[in-house]
């Protein structure tokens, strides 16, 4: 690239215009952009070598990793949009919990899976409208709005169930949401693939996706260029809550019950997955596929550490360290 560098000649209109990019810098850019995939492969290979004899490479174990991370991956797709638009949603874990119990109660009351699904989605719709409305129209920071909503949704879920689990006896619901398999493929994997494919196309290939990135990159410039930044902010918050309500029903279907604890703490895993995947915490850049791999990496680490016989406290420490290292490597210079 050094031949593009022009000497600082007298003010001719064709003088050097872009910062010269040395080959080192370019390689550095690529390396950081793909840090998550490289990290994923490195850790996978390490585990394969050291834990191969503990069954790490068995088909069941690998499918298990997918199954265990599926719900995090699905929520991470929506969170990628939220963070790319320079917002945050801390309420998703509690929204999932609330949706699981509302769906379970609705099914118990009506006996209809459809009614349960609508009730669960209704939770996401209402909370999404509230979150999005407060952030967009009252200008409240999404961090505070969704932090408050985290508590409200969690408390509500606990209140309406008197803290007791609500069993779901509807086989249709349990089969669609998480429990069943299609041939050898777990249903949750199908859900993940649909969510990731849809999210990846929308973010990278549609006008809406580009406008989300522009809004997160520079809200004022986007607004002055004709982007309806309020609509963008509102919709990313709304979709995040809706997806969280679907995630809650996936928990409910898989575990055949609604319970206020489902999803507790998921927001942190989801945000970690999104950031690991290369989405900028300051907005303006995001990758849905990256978020999927971020989520899988977290699942991989959890799985490997369990197979290695580490107890929960050790797992937590090592997981934290790996996240710090990964984000440090992927950060933009």
């Amino acid at each position: 690239m050094s031949e593009t560098t022009t000497p600082p000649a007298p003010p001719s209109p064709s003088s050097a215009t872009s910062a010269p990019a040395g080959p080192g810098l370019l390689r550095g850019l690529d390396w950081r952009q793909y840090a998550i995939y490289i990290g994923f492969v490195v850790i996978f290979v390490l585990f394969a070598i050291f834990l191969g004899s503990d069954g790490f490479l068995s088909g069941t174990n690998l499918l298990n990793i997918f199954r265990q991370t599926a719900i995090i991956s699905i929520m991470a797709v929506a969170m990628t949009f939220v963070i790319a638009a320079a917002q945050i949603d801390l309420s998703i874990g509690s929204v999932a919990g609330l949706s699981s119990v509302v769906a379970a109660l609705a099914i118990t009351a009506s006996g209809s899976a459809l009614f349960g699904v609508l009730a669960g989605l209704g939770v996401g719709l209402v909370i999404g409208v509230i979150n999005g409305g407060l952030v967009t129209f009252l200008g409240m920071p999404s961090f505070l709005v969704t932090l408050a909503m985290l508590g409200i949704a969690f408390g509500l879920a606990q209140l309406i169930t008197a803290s007791a689990p609500v069993p779901i006896l509807n086989d249709t619901f349990n089969a669609i949401f998480g429990g069943g398999n299609i041939g050898p493929i777990p249903g949750l994997l199908i859900w993940t693939i649909i969510a990731v494919a849809l999210g990846a196309v929308v973010l990278a290939k549609t006008r809406y996706g580009r406008q989300v990135l522009a809004t997160g990159g520079n809200r004022v410039a986007a607004e002055y260029t004709g982007v309806n930044t309020k609509r963008i902010t509102f919709t990313v918050m709304l979709v995040s809550a809706l997806v969280a309500s679907v995630a809650g029903m996936l928990y409910a279907g898989r575990l055949e019950s609604g319970r206020y604890q489902w999803g507790t703490g998921d927001e942190l895993s989801v945000i970690a997955a999104v950031i690991l995947g290369g989405t900028s915490l300051f907005g303006g850049a995001g990758s849905v596929i990256g978020a999927l791999f971020g989520s899988l990496l977290i699942g991989l680490i959890n799985n490997g550490l369990i197979l290695a016989g580490l107890d929960n406290s050790q797992q937590q420490i090592i997981r934290g360290l790996i996240i710090i290292v990964a984000v440090a490597l992927a950060r933009k210079k």
Binding site: T4, P11, S12, S14, T17, Y208, N218, A221, G226, V227
Partner: protein, 500 residues
């Protein structure tokens, strides 16, 4: 009290490109108010930043109070008694006046901040300034005039004997300015020396003793104001630059005076300061807006682009109320804005040139919801070629481009939408002379092709080179609507702006 407060001799400074200061001599006498004037890029702020310790000179000697000094940081300058009253306020709005005055220099007792002593000493300083202000008041609840006074008190708390004031009245009302002038008189009587940077001639004559005029990094002269006429000052600031591109050419395509107006503004008034403005604009015409900062130039553009809303009056497009409620509506009506600050308002800096160029065009590139990237590439390449944007790849972030090429991206992104009205707010600020020439030529071409253009420029040479007509704005209203043919030159326009 006589003597020299500051002496700067043979100051040179460059930032890689052409030198910004070329052997500047500047002497500030003790107890004088000394105006520092010059156009954009003349070197005023660089010279003052050297005196504040922000930049180090490449060569030259600085003496403060007779002692040679070498400042590496603003703290060094403060210690030597040089204080700065910032143009952009450097206060913490949520803290009290007293806390702001002693920010980072809080009086302490047993290691903890001594609030009582702080309030008492702040009260003493304010009383010494003759200002009636409660030291415990929270800054954000005070009118902006008091912010300025707090800034000055902050400098005085550090025992500043030299104060640099950069456009101190830019955001003040008339009464607040009067209070400031009274304070300056008082400080002067106490032996404080003041460097006063301002473009407002009436203020300079009113409060300053001497003036130094800089142009292109050199001193034109330092004289007592009593010996100078405003015309002499303006001429010295403007100079006799002969830049071919900056010569006005009567355009063939300039519209006939009788042609029907494309845009009409009637009695427009808004909370942002625009007061009862009326004018009209024809297709193919370039209208220049002349005025000082805060005269309502940028504010008018914000109204025309739907960023701010008018309180009363109307904006008509082709004789019909335009209904511009937000920027999207303005864009849909064929209005485009190249905003004042391209980095904050015009570009998503981390995104590629291509993404920035295509952002306003995505609607037309979408097929069943999916953006056609092939067509987008072609479109972006066309725009890059049309404005001759120099880059290594359209996929690299726009922040890596030079200022001039960034500005071309902001202009180019609108051309794909073929607007009828193009609003340009300081389109060549911070742009090198080569690119500036190109941008001016492009603007002329666009007007020749029938676009109506409104342009703001603080550089009068540029404004005069471009405009078919010039509106002179003062304090939010139109004070003159001049045909370019009737303007003799920069000096007469400068005088019209000053209202002399």
């Amino acid at each position: 009290m006589t003597g020299t407060a500051v002496e700067m001799r043979g100051i040179h400074k460059g930032f890689g490109g052409p030198p910004v200061l070329r052997g500047v001599d500047f002497t500030l006498r003790a107890g004088e108010v000394h105006a520092l004037a010059g156009g954009n890029g003349a070197g005023k702020s660089t010279l003052m930043k050297i005196l504040q310790g922000v930049h180090r000179p490449d060569a030259g000697v600085i003496k403060v109070g007779g002692r040679e000094v070498s400042f590496s940081t603003t703290k060094d300058a403060e210690a030597a008694g040089v204080g700065m009253v910032f143009q952009e306020f450097s206060l913490v709005p949520t803290l009290s006046v007293a806390r702001n005055i002693f920010l980072n220099h809080e009086p302490r007792r047993f290691g903890l901040i001594d609030d009582k002593a702080m309030v008492r000493r702040a009260g003493e300083i304010l009383a010494g300034m003759g200002v009636d202000l409660d030291p415990k008041a929270e800054v954000q609840k005070l009118p902006t005039g008091y912010w300025q006074l707090t800034e000055i008190a902050k400098a005085l708390a550090l025992n500043a004997t030299v104060l640099i004031m950069d456009e101190p009245t830019a955001s003040l009302t008339k009464t607040e300015s009067e209070a400031l002038f009274a304070l300056i008189e008082r400080l002067k009587a106490n032996g404080v020396s003041i460097v006063y940077i301002s473009h407002r001639m009436e203020e300079i004559y009113r409060i300053c003793d001497r003036i130094t005029i800089l142009r292109d990094g050199g001193v034109i002269f330092t004289e007592a104001l009593a010996d100078l006429t405003p015309e002499q000052i303006v001429e010295a600031i403007v100079g006799r630059r002969m830049e071919h591109a900056l010569e006005w050419q009567e355009r063939d395509a300039a519209p006939e005076p009788g042609a029907a107006p494309l845009l009409q503004v009637r009695n427009l008034t808004a909370a942002n300061g625009v007061t009862d403005m009326s004018f009209s604009l024809r297709a193919g015409e370039i209208l220049g807006l002349a005025g000082l900062m805060g005269s309502g130039r940028t504010e008018l553009m914000r109204l025309l682009f739907g960023i701010d809303r008018p309180v009363s009056g109307e904006i008509l497009l082709r004789g019909v109320p335009a209904g511009i409620d937000n920027p999207r509506a303005a864009i849909n009506k064929g209005i485009a804005l190249v905003p004042e600050d391209r980095r904050l308002q015009g570009l998503v800096l981390d995104h590629s040139v291509r993404e920035n160029l295509l952002l306003p065009l995505l609607g037309g590139l979408t097929n069943r919801g999916v953006v056609n990237d092939k067509r987008g590439d072609g479109l972006a390449a066309g725009l890059i070629e049309r404005l001759d944007i120099k880059l290594s790849s359209p996929k690299r972030p726009v922040r890596l481009l030079s200022g001039g090429n960034q500005q071309k991206v902001v202009i180019a992104k609108w051309l794909g939408r073929e607007p009828n009205v193009l609003l340009l707010d300081e389109p060549t600020a911070g742009v090198d002379i080569g690119t500036k020439t190109e941008i001016i030529a492009r603007i002329r071409e666009l007007a020749d092709a029938g676009m109506a253009v409104i342009v703001i420029s603080s550089e009068l040479a540029e404004l005069l080179a471009l405009s078919d007509r010039v509106l002179v704005l003062r304090r939010g209203t139109v004070t003159a609507d001049l045909d370019r043919r009737d303007i003799a030159g920069e000096e007469s326009l400068q005088l019209a702006i000053q209202g002399v």
